[in-house]
Every structure is written in C-alpha cells, then in structure tokens.
Amino acid sequence: MSETALQPCAPRVVAPPRTPRKRYRRSAYARRRGRSGLAFVTPFMVIFTLFMIAPLGYAIYQSLYTTKLIGGTRYSGFANYSTVLESGDFWNGVIRVIIFGGIQIPVMLAIAFFFATIFDLGVAKWGGLFRAVYFIPFAVPIVVSSLMWGFLLDPAYGPFNRLFSAFGFQNFNWLSPNLMLPSIIIIAIWEWTGYNAIILYTALKSVPRDVIEAAILDDTPLWKIILRIKLPLVRPAIIMLVFINTIGAMQLFIEPTILNNYSAGVVTDTWTPVIDIYTTSISNGEYQLGAAMAVVLAVVIIAISVASLAFRNRRREFG
C-alpha cells in the first residue's frame, strides 16, 4: 500500500518513532487510524485498568503477605493459600454454591425456556402482558426482593406458613438450616426467570420462519419442532445464559445475608465463599487471607467457565 494513497486531509505525518523491531511496515494511514482507534478505547481501558485490573493485581500481591502482631507484615509466600486450600469451611461454602447453582440454573432455564416458547409460538393469550410481568423482578434490587421474601417466608408470621398450617403442616420453617438453601433457590428463580425468558424469547424470534413452516408442512409434531429445531438453534443464547448465571450463583451473598436477619444464626460466617471473604477481610480485618480466598474463588469460577467452554467446543466438533 502506498504511503499516500488514502490521506484525505493532510494529516500530521510526524509518526512517533515506534518500537524499532517492527515486523512489517505500516503505512502512515494505518498508523494514523491505529492512533484514532487507540484514542477511542483509551478512556475505557484507563478506568478498567484502575478499577478492575489494579485491584486484582493488588489482591494477588497482598495475598502473598501475612501480618502478625509480632513482626509486622512479612512476605509469606503461599502460606495464605495453603490456609485457604485446607480450610474445610471455605470449601463447604464452595460446594454449597455449586449445589445451589447446579439446581437453580437448570430449573430456572427450563421454566424460562418453557415460557419463552409459549410466547414465541403465541399459544397462550396475553403474551405481551405476561412478558412484562415476568420481567418485573429484574428491576427489583436483590436486597429488596430478599427482604420481601423474608417477610413472606417468616416462620412465625409469614402468610405462606399460615397457608401451610391451614393444610395441617404445623411449624413449617422455610428459613431453618435445612430449608434455607431451597428457599434461596426459590427466591433466585423468582428473581431471574423473567430476564432469562426474555433473552430466550428474543433468540427464538430470530429462528427463520420458513424453517418452521417447512417442518409444519412435513407434519412434524409440535414438540419435535421445539426440541429438535428451535432448541438447537438457540443454543448460543442458552450457553451465554449458563455462563452469566453460573458466575452470579458462585457469588451468592445478598440473599443469605438478608434472610439471616429473619432467622438468626442459620447463615454462618462461612456459609458461602463471598460471605466468608467478607467476614474474613472486612469484619475480622485479615485482608491478606481474604485476598487469597478471593483469588481462589476467582480461579474456581474461571475453571468452571473454561471447562464448560471446552465442553461446548467438543460438542460442536462431533455434533
């Protein structure tokens, strides 16, 4: 490409001396465009670096140190990490959120897909109204929805318990140690089904109409159209939702913290990993240990994401 082919308004061709080991010559035009591109992304990258990369780097740095009453802060290598890795409480929390996500996400996606299909096919009345209603919880802050559900599920006064005792289930405690997690699963389904259903609905809408018409002409039964044609075509959307929901589920924090105010003592300081991180670093002031926990949890989340990505790619190769 010639140096001057595409230079509309005589730019300042004072290209700053770039790195000497250039592998190929870039035209002045390309360089100028590159600089514009860089200018566009710089504001985002600066804030992103300051408030995301830097804190993460700082957490990793902190996690390698230990503060003792005698001796002050010292480099301690991976001591904090071995404390975390050997902490049964921390891993119990991790297992708890994995169970939580493992139940909540498939159930919610199934419900969301069910309603998205109904809306897409138009086989129920007032679809637009229901879509709007189902989306309401997305606009409710999780703190507020946890508070509302806390009132509804309250073991002594909640209306749900009254209904239950009317049917003979006396002293049914939704917020007892055994039922806390199932209750939170119900709350999470309340919060997120609408959002997921709308995304699936939009994805289903983009399935080409002639494909479906052809299937109808072939007398394909409806359930086959849904499961064999539509479901595979919206798989990218489903995979994206699994990702988003998994990352969210692993960070379970607000619901148990708020519900604990209704049923004190059920949610321990190590109930979920994020609660554990919060109590360790903020309440107990052991930042370095908390930072190590945060890094370990991030690694767990990234490992799960990458594993599911690898799974997806393998499926794609063979299927």
């Binding site: 509309p8 308004c9 465009r33 590159g34 591109g37 860089l38 566009f40 992304v41 504001p43 985002f44 804030i47 992103f48 408030f51 995301m52 990369i53 804190p55 993460l56 700082y58 957490a59 902190q62 419900i111 309603f115 109904i118 096919l121 679809g127 189902y134 997305f138 606009a139 802050p141 999780i142 703190v143 508070l147 806390g150 009132f151 509804l152 006064y157 209306p159 009254r162 309340w190 959002y195 709308i198 939009t202 994805a203 109409r209 109808i216 039964p221 990218p236 959307a237 994206m240 692993m250 960070q251 924090f253 607000i254 105010n261 919060y278 670093s281 903020i282 930042y287 949890l297 991030a298």
Partner: protein, 326 residues
Amino acid sequence: MSAPTLAPPAQPPVRPAAETRRERKRRERLEQRDAVIPVELYGLRRGTVTALTTCCVLFALFILAPVAWVIINSTKTQANIFESFGFWFASPFEFFHTFANLFRDIDGDGTYSTWFVNTVLYSVVGGVGATVLAALGGYGFARFEFRGSKVFFGIVIAGLLVPITLVAVPLYLAYAKVHLINSIWGMILPSMVTPVGLYLMRTYVELSIPRELTDAARIDGASELRIFFRIALPLMVPGLMTVLLLSVAGTWNNYILPLIIFSNNTLFPVTVGMGLWSQHAGNSGDQNLYPLIVMSGLVTIIPMVALFALLQRYWRGGLLLGSVAN
C-alpha cells in the same frame, strides 16, 4: 471541512418521518401479527391454549405475590404487618404516616430520602459514564485495528469472568491508601467499568453499522470524531439504551461495594440503608422499623419498574446481543 454531504445511512428499514404514536403502534401490531404463525397450523388440541394460559397466570401470580404483599403492607402498622393476614388490608391505614417517616432519621441509622438521592446520583452518573465509555470503546474495538487491540479486547473479555464482588475487597484496601473511602467517586468510578457493556456495544456496531458507510465518510474526508458523532452514534441508539439501562440497574442494585466502602450513613445508597434497617429491626424496641422497610421497598422498586416499562422498545432487542456474535 468541504466534504460533500453524506447520503443518509444505507436505508435501514425505511420509516416514514412523521409517524405518529398511534400509527407506530398499529404498524408494530401488524408486523407482530404477521411474524407469528397462526396457532391452528400447529394442530394443537382444543383446550391447549387455555391450559397454557393457565400456566402463565399461575407463574404470574408467583411473580406478583411479593409485589402485592409490599403494596398491601405499606398501609399497615407494625403490629398488623405481623398479626393480620399478609394478602389483605387491615385498619388503621398508616400509608401516609409511614411515607412521611421516610424523610426522617428514625433510629439513628440515617434517612431514607438521603439514601434515595444518593442512589439516583450514583446510578445516573455511573450509568451515563459507563455508557459513554462502552460506546467509545466498543466502536474503537469494532472499527479499528491497532497494535495490541486483540490483546486489550481479550483482557476485557476475561474481565467478564471476574466477579465484581471479588474486586470489592481489594478496592477497599486500595481506597484506604488513596483516601477514597467514604468518597462518592469511590462508588461512581468502579460503576463505570462494564466489560459486558463494551462487549454489547462492539457487537452492536459490527452488526448494525455498515462498514461501507464509515469508509465512505472517511474517503470524503470526515475526521474520525465526526464520523463517530454524526454517523455511528445515531445508529447506535438502541444499543446505547440497553447498555444505559443495564448499567443504571446494576448500580441501583449494587450492595457489596457500597457496604464495604461507606461507613458514613449519609452516603449510603438505599440497598445498604435497608440492609442496616433489617439488621436492627428485630431489636429496635418501639421504633417500628418494619413498616419503614416495607415502604422503602415499595419506593425503591417503583422508579426502576417504571423506567424498564417505559423504555421496553429499546432494551428488548439489545439483551440478546451478547450471544449472536459467537
């Protein structure tokens, strides 16, 4: 600049300029009708539609139950919230009395009206900032190749996987060093970081702004900034609205970051304030915090629900963007 005037965007769906609201509604309804395959064609049995509609109604009841509970119980006294049946009214009617208490510091935890103003400030400034940064950055990554552009974008995508709550604790440590604890900027600036927003905007630019359009403008001698503001930005509006709504909602709902970085209760957003109330409500004696909690819940959700309902047209299409580019 003497560039010849540009032709209008390469005719995306032509729309009559002066389309009234009613005409638009009508057109949309017709388009929607044509897009749906008539139910009869699926060969469904009679009654299926009724059965499925019933399913929808049942789930709608599940969704609306807490909302109805909040509306009903915002009119009750503390005793009635617990003693009377939750899904029906009970006298005395205390709505206005409780509402007035939102403007007072009842038990020393702080005043709801202050928290509400804070929340609006953080969400609007944070949300607008996030949208501007995401729009510039998304356009930059979609339309330019420069040294490191692939690497930078890769890092941003990796940022999608990093849970925000994990950044909160290290941020607190860093803030302690640079005196950003109990500063509103400590809340607003991190709210401007939305890897999801950037990703959505990049996808949106790639899908909805024809390359020929920007290239043509460039050949005509328009500067990059002019191309961005005059050509790209108007075409990006639906995507921008989606990112704006999602980031405003994200900040509005944020709990853990403000919980960690604010100790001064005049800076709290509503989420932290309400969390504190619910912690104290059980042992607050005769300060009657429960009606306040219910009322503040109602007042907190109304603006967001209204915003999402009003702007439905804009965000509905945008939510899916993340998945189509793969």
